[in-house]
Amino acid sequence: MDASSFSALVFGTSVVAGLLGALTGLGGGVVIVPVLALLFKVDIRYAIGASLVSVIATSSGAAAAYVREGLSNVRIGMFLEVATTLGALLGAYLTARVSSHWIAIIFGAVLLYSAYSSYRQKGDHPIAITLNPLAERLQLCGSYPTDSGETTYSAQHVPMGFGIMFGAGTLSGLLGIGSGAVKVLAMDQAMKLPFKVSTTTSNFMIGVTAAASAGIYLARGYIDPGLAMPVMLGVLGGSMIGSRILVKAKVSTLKIVFVWVIAALGAEMIFSGLTGRI
């Protein structure tokens, strides 16, 4: 295939991946890596390199829109970025040590978990207002606008949240994804932060986390310009369209369809890893 048609095909696929990633809130990275590896037969290291670049682009691009709503928490984000960036360094080192079969299998498991968490996504749990002494000392609290005015919140289970964030960073560095689903798990489930605060703060953190492994990916030669170019531009464009649609339309049916697509990709990645095709 000549370079122009290959780039056009990858670009088109990336637009769809970015669009669906934005609509489900899972991000384009989790879709583009399996598609590049399974459909385009791209080596998984090139695929995660290109995906990581697109992850930085979408996270940074979306952040400008989120901050206006006043939902993300810059202190909680920065505190947890200590954990995610350290994890990302570990993950990026591991990609060179772990065989691509294992990367595919772990990737598949993360896809299945992401599909499950997106499927199960529900409204807010009661917000913890009881002050946690550690959270107070670390200033991990804030307020956000709700229907009944400004509501204050304070983080709970800080060490557990920090630990899960380290894991999220490791997965991000190992697989070249934003691992938004795991970040939201840490903030929403463990630290009991309001769901909207968790998702927007997570989006803010993804870019910094990915930048920590990007330096290592670049030095290792995982980021190939010919592949990263259409993937980055495509995913960025797709996710911009996606976030516009999200504001206007209800997407519940599409979301369920897409959750099944993610689950199928996850199963296929695990199968390919086990049978040695990746």
């Binding site: 080596d43 691009g61 400008a64 810059v74 960036t85 990007a214 030669g221 310009p225 990263a228």
Partner: protein
């Protein structure tokens, strides 16, 4: 100077992030056009052989850009993109120092140190 609220700080950062992404997307796009005009066949991506040495270091990329090499121009755009979140953390260090929040000046400086380590010592 008036007290800087978290919200104002985040809005400033949000603008910077958007500018960084737009700039990098523009450079990648420009490099991409040149790349596709100069290349006829797709490189083999099915086997990993790592991007060429000159595309793996900041100095190498800058040298390539000076030679007007298309792949290096794309890589420059990607470097700009990687730098965007790093600048964000720098802005946070500055913002927290304006708020006189010592604890978070320290936390954001630590994150900045980790990022710098990755970019400078990465892969060694």
């Amino acid at each position: 100077m008036a007290e800087l609220t978290d919200k104002q700080m985040e809005i400033e950062i949000g603008h910077m992030l958007r500018t960084g992404v737009s700039l990098s997307a523009f450079v990648v796009f420009a490099g991409g056009i040149l790349y596709l005009r100069s290349r006829s066949n797709t490189p083999d991506y099915s086997h990993f052989h790592a991007a060429s040495e000159s595309l793996r270091t900041i100095a190498g990329v800058l040298h390539g850009v000076a030679r007007f090499d298309a792949a290096s121009i794309i890589q420059l755009g990607i470097l700009l993109l990687i730098a965007t979140p790093v600048v964000r953390v720098v802005l946070c260090v500055a913002g927290f120092s304006r708020q006189r929040n010592r604890l978070y000046m320290g936390v954001s400086a630590l994150v900045l140190a980790i990022l710098t380590y990755s970019l400078l010592a990465g892969g060694r």
